[in-house]
C-alpha cells in the first residue's frame, strides 16, 4: 500500500512537472529542424511510357510522376537525405535510375528535379529562395532543363538581360521584376537568333521558377511554376494586439495555479505526516 502511494506520489508530481510547462509556456517550441522539398520531372523522353516512382529517405512519395510534373512542397527532417527514382513497379531493392544524396538545411526550401534524356537521367538539387522580394516586386529565376541547347542568355524581349551564360542543368539567380506580363527570349550566348520564347506573368510578392524545357521530340518551351507567394507590402515591426487587462501585475497569481500549488503542498504534507506516524507506531 505504501509502495503504491509512493509510486502514485512520484507519478503525480512527475506529471505535474511535465504538465507545468504547458501551463506556463504553451507556445510550441519551433520545429526548427525541418526543411521543405519538392520534386519535378523535366526529362523529356522519360514520360508516359516510363512512369516513375520517387522516394525520399525510403519513404515512397509518388508512385507516378509525369513529364512537367511539379509536386507541392513536403516538410522533411533537415539533415542528410536520399532521393531515388525507379521505374514504376521496380522493387525497392533494385538499383535506382537516379540517386541524389545531399544535406538539407533547416528552414530552407529545395527542388530536386529529374532532368536529361531517359538514358542519361540525372537528378539535380537546387535551393529555392523563399525570402521576400523587394517591396512591390516579384522574384523570377530560370532553370535550363532543355537537353539539346547550347549555352544561352535569357532576356526580356527588347530589353534587359536577366541571365547570361546559362547552361544545362543549372538554375539562375532570382531576378526582381515589377508585376506584369513579360515576353522572355532565350538566345544562344552572344548570338541574336531567338531559340525559345515565351510569356511569363508575375505578381508582386510572388516567387516563380521558369524551366526551359524540351528536346528528344518534345517542343522547346518556357514552363513557369510558382515557388511561393508572399505579402505585396508587409507591415513593419510587431503587432499591438493587447491592452494589458489580463497581464499579471501585483495581483495574486491566477486561481488555478494557486489551487494547484496548494493541493500539491497539502498532499505531500499529509503523506509526510502519515509516514511519520507509522514510524512512531
Amino acid at each position: 500500500m505504501r509502495g503504491f502511494l509512493r509510486a502514485f506520489l512520484t507519478v503525480a508530481l512527475a506529471v505535474c512537472v511535465l504538465g507545468m510547462p504547458r501551463l506556463a509556456a504553451p507556445a510550441q517550441a519551433a520545429p526548427g529542424d525541418q526543411a521543405m522539398i519538392r520534386i519535378a520531372h523535366f526529362s523529356p523522353d522519360a514520360s508516359y511510357v516510363d512512369v516513375y516512382m520517387v522516394s525520399l529517405n525510403r519513404k515512397q512519395l509518388f508512385p507516378n510522376v509525369f513529364y512537367k510534373g511539379v509536386s507541392a512542397y513536403w516538410k522533411v527532417a533537415a539533415g542528410p537525405f536520399t532521393y531515388e527514382v525507379r521505374p514504376a513497379g521496380a522493387t525497392p531493392e533494385s538499383t535506382p535510375a537516379i540517386r541524389v544524396t545531399g544535406k538539407l538545411e533547416a528552414g530552407k526550401a529545395y527542388t530536386v528535379a529529374a532532368v536529361g534524356r531517359k538514358a542519361q537521367l540525372r537528378g539535380v538539387l537546387f535551393r529555392d529562395d523563399m525570402s521576400p522580394s523587394a517591396p512591390g516586386k516579384a522574384k523570377v529565376r530560370f532553370l535550363d532543363a532543355a537537353i539539346d541547347l547550347p549555352q544561352v542568355d535569357i532576356a526580356l524581349a527588347g530589353g534587359r538581360t536577366l541571365s547570361s551564360g546559362v547552361s544545362f542543368p543549372q538554375p539562375t539567380r532570382y531576378a526582381q521584376l515589377a508585376s506584369g506580363n513579360y515576353k522572355v527570349e532565350v538566345r544562344r550566348t552572344g548570338a541574336e537568333a531567338v531559340l525559345v520564347k515565351g510569356n511569363v506573368a508575375v505578381r508582386q510578392g510572388t516567387v516563380t521558377s521558369v524551366a526551359l524545357l524540351g528536346g528528344a521530340g518534345k517542343p522547346r518551351e518556357l514552363f513557369a511554376f510558382g515557388d511561393a507567394t508572399g505579402t505585396r507590402v508587409a507591415p513593419s515591426g510587431g503587432i499591438r494586439t493587447g491592452a494589458g487587462g489580463t497581464a499579471p501585475s501585483s495581483r495574486a497569481p491566477a486561481a488555478p495555479v494557486l489551487l494547484l500549488v496548494l493541493a500539491v503542498a497539502a498532499g505531500a504534507g499529509l503523506l509526510a505526516v502519515s509516514t511519520r506516524r507509522r514510524v512512531r507506531a
Partner: protein
C-alpha cells in the same frame, strides 16, 4: 483502483490511512488540474504536414502550381513506407475576402474586419477587442501565401477575442468562411512566440509555398511603461480542405 484489488481483506481503518487517502485525493485533484490544459485534442506533431483525412478540395487544376498526379490511394510497394504525399490545397476560382473565423477548440467565433497599415508602417489592429481582423494587403485565406489574421489578447479590463490563442496545439482546426461562401479548414502546424523588437516579418508575411493562415496576438510580459506586451504569439496553420 489497483490498490484495492491488491489488498486481500479490508483492514481496520487507521488514522494514518485516512491521512494517506486524503493526501492521495489532494494529489489526484492536483493531477486533474494539471491535465486540464493538455486535454485539447492534439494532432500530428509540430510541423507535421497535415493533409485532412478526406481532403474535399482537389488541387486547383488551373492554379499556378501544377500538381503531380497522385492517386487517392497509392499502391503500397513492399519495403517502402508510403508517406503523406504533399498536396496543394487551394480554393479554385477568384479570391474572396474572409468574413468569419471559428476556432472550436478555444471557443472563438468572430466576424473579421479588414486591416491595413498604420502611418508608421505597422499593421493596423481591430478597434473592437471582441473581433479579429484580416490583413487585407496580403493574400486572402485559400490563396497560396500567408493570410494574416490579428486579434487582441486582452482589453484594458479583461480577456479579448484571442485570449485563448495560446492554448492552440498542432492539429487543432481553424475555420474561415469567405464572402463567396467557401468554408476553409486550416490545421494548426505550430505556435511560436517572438519578441516584438525582433518580429520576424519575413517568416510571418513572407512567401509561403501553400495556402497558409497566421493568427497573431500578444504575449509575454506586459510593459506598463509602454502600455504594450513585449511578445507576439503567432499560430501557423495550413489549408487542409475546402467546402461550400
Amino acid at each position: 483502483m489497483a490498490a484495492a484489488r491488491r489488498t486481500p481483506a479490508p483492514p481496520p481503518v487507521r488514522p494514518g490511512r485516512v491521512l494517506k487517502a486524503l493526501g492521495a485525493l489532494a494529489l489526484l485533484l492536483a493531477l486533474g488540474s494539471c491535465a486540464v490544459p493538455s486535454a485539447q485534442p492534439s494532432g500530428p506533431g509540430a510541423g507535421a504536414i497535415a493533409p485532412g483525412p478526406a481532403p474535399a478540395g482537389p488541387a486547383d487544376p488551373a492554379g499556378p502550381l501544377p500538381g503531380v498526379d497522385v492517386p487517392a490511394t497509392p499502391p503500397e510497394a513492399p519495403g517502402f513506407e508510403v508517406a503523406d504525399a504533399p498536396r496543394q490545397v487551394t480554393v479554385p476560382g477568384p479570391a474572396s475576402p474572409p468574413v468569419r473565423l471559428t476556432i472550436p477548440a478555444i471557443r472563438v467565433a468572430t466576424s473579421l474586419v479588414r486591416l491595413g497599415r498604420e502611418r508608421d508602417g505597422s499593421m493596423q489592429v481591430p478597434v473592437d477587442f471582441a473581433r479579429a481582423g484580416w490583413f487585407a494587403e496580403g493574400p486572402t485565406p485559400g490563396e497560396v501565401g500567408p493570410a494574416v489574421v490579428a486579434g487582441h489578447v486582452d482589453s484594458r479590463t479583461g480577456p479579448a477575442v484571442f485570449f485563448r490563442l495560446r492554448e492552440l496545439r498542432p492539429g487543432d482546426t481553424v475555420q474561415v468562411e469567405r464572402a463567396d461562401g467557401a468554408r476553409l479548414r486550416f490545421v494548426v502546424e505550430q505556435a511560436r512566440s517572438f519578441p516584438k523588437a525582433t518580429f520576424p516579418t519575413a517568416e510571418v508575411f513572407g512567401p509561403a509555398p501553400w495556402a497558409a493562415l497566421r493568427l497573431v496576438t500578444c504575449g509575454g510580459d506586459f510593459d506598463r511603461a509602454r502600455g504594450s506586451y513585449r511578445d507576439n504569439l503567432v499560430v501557423f496553420a495550413r489549408l487542409a480542405s475546402v467546402s461550400r
